[in-house]
Amino acid sequence: MTDVPDLLTVSDLKVYFPMRRDLFGSTQGIVRAVDGVSFAVRKGETLGLVGESGSGKTTTGLAILRALEPTSGRVTFRVNEQTVDVTALRGKELRQFRRHMQMIFQDPYSSLNPRMTVRDIIAEPLVASGLAKGSEVDERVRETASRCRLDLEYLRRFPHAFSGGQRQRIGIARALVSNPEFVVCDEPVTALDVSIQAEILNLLMDLQRDLGLTYLLIAHDLSVVAYISHRVAVMYLGQLMEIAPTRELFRAPRHPYTEALMSAVPEVDPDLPLKPVQLRGEIPDPADPPSGCRFHTRCRYVQDVCRSEVPALKELSTGHMAACHFAEELELRGVRGLPPAP
């Protein structure tokens, strides 16, 4: 996929939140939820974004979509042979642009308005952006619903009548009705039962293939990420630690945090006991991140330089980048028994 052009680029994205702690609401500090993140997503690929709670992965997704205002940085989007600076869009321009970038949410129970019929929920983005009118709306809704394997009978009903899997399909149809090129999928199967997850993951993959969609998949479950992502980016405390093609990242991680994260993922095999890398301490306060490399307080390979100097995200081999001073020297453990990429 290396010859495929970038659809989306994110450069030095920062999202800071003021922290209000005292009674009078004065600012008591700043949480650097996303602190200088850069990456690109190619047309037609799925980039997985992983990290633990507080890593800033959801905030990154929301800031790309301008659902949340970035503090600084730039997001560009390639559409109709032109590059649009998404971060510079205002007012009507922004509203009209939203049809190109959509989102699928984690919890299908709280993300659908219970007072709207399924048809109205799916149609809303079309109507709001004025993309379609009258019978054209119904046509688009029906076409999208059947693509998402929703029974057209359901369109007249209200969402409360549906199970988690069906609700998530309604959420996907709503995201796709405006024919977006790019979709942020934020934990799309986390709230679903195991027997329902596969159906939704397969649907997302089929839709990508049929419609040429590009996904940013935010998920904490590394097996889910491994299954549908072409490349994976690892975040820790608001910064990118590593980014690489999926198989390569899992087989040969180059950042100690990635190594620790992967070693903690249990396998469905009683004969492969978990041997997690021991992480020291806890995730530091994002309002007061450690100096130098943000991971240094927990890293087992820490050296003096890690405490003082921020490591740059370096390219180690084609498409494989890691932000570690010792990425070239360390011999890190990947997922056991994973064959190299074909």
């Binding site: 027997s195 397969n202 095999d269 997690p276 301490g281």
Partner: protein, 340 residues
Amino acid sequence: MELSAKSGDKLLEVTDLGVSFRTDEGLIRAVDGISFTVHRGRTLGIVGESGSGKSVTALSIMRLLPDTAEINAESVITLYRSDGLVTITELRPNSREMRRIRGGEIAMIFQEPMSSFSPVYTVGNQVSEPILVHRGISKQGAERFIIEMLDRVGIPGAAQRFREYPFQLSGGMRQRAMTAGAISTHPALLIADEPTTALDVTIQAQILELLRELQREFQMAIIFITHNLAVIAQVAHEIVVMYLGCIMERGPVREVLRNPQHPYTRSLLAAIPRIKDTSDRLRAIKGEIPSPLERPGGCPFHTRCQQMIPGRCAEHKPDAYPVGPDHFSSCFLHEEVRSD
């Protein structure tokens, strides 16, 4: 205590447990005639999706079911002690004997330590409760002992943490603190209901390791309830696979996961993504989990089963048929195995 009991001895036996809930929409049969045994010092994993009845099973053992629930008359839950046995299902939930068992011989930890803790009392205050109730120990003695326990479960600065409030601890630390309180009475059985589901994977790995160590140290049996097959593979010795209130398959963990027999277990294992093998398309299980109000008759999985036998699975409920040593499948496909 109970020095004569050995690891591997029978500790808890659940026979034909059935639990119904009265709701506005009718009677819900949450658990439908399940049987299993827990052995001293070993871990029984109960795996299931929503509505499988796994948490209701745990609450039945603790006799902590809400008033709308009823344990059916034929159910028997027996706790084996070194000096005899007690039938939990014959006790009143608030009886002296049951209170002695609950929190004393059988303790429980839950999924979200934030909602299990009261926000207005200190961690120490709440974690000390079981030992104060069950051991008749002085407050100072309890404090000393609990600080030791907090330290044992890996909470740095235990004396300081003892005086803090739950919100001051991270999710992982709260789970450790809750575990410290639960095991402070040296229970023979710890019921852990989705104890790592709300935690990040690195923290989950630490809690699983902690439970393993504590089990070795205290010779404690564990019932580990989860929806996660990978977690169950790591912690359990025996597993029970539940679906809509029934046990579909049970047996030694290696047998059930390596050599699954029941169509539900097989489908579930084929439906989960694995890091090591992402080349094959996942095989989704058709349909949705039926609502507990519309529980299918016969085998509850028959509406989604690829191997449904017409005229059989929808009409009759299969028994647990042996399919290997200590390995049972509740599926008519395995009925004939019984004859040899």
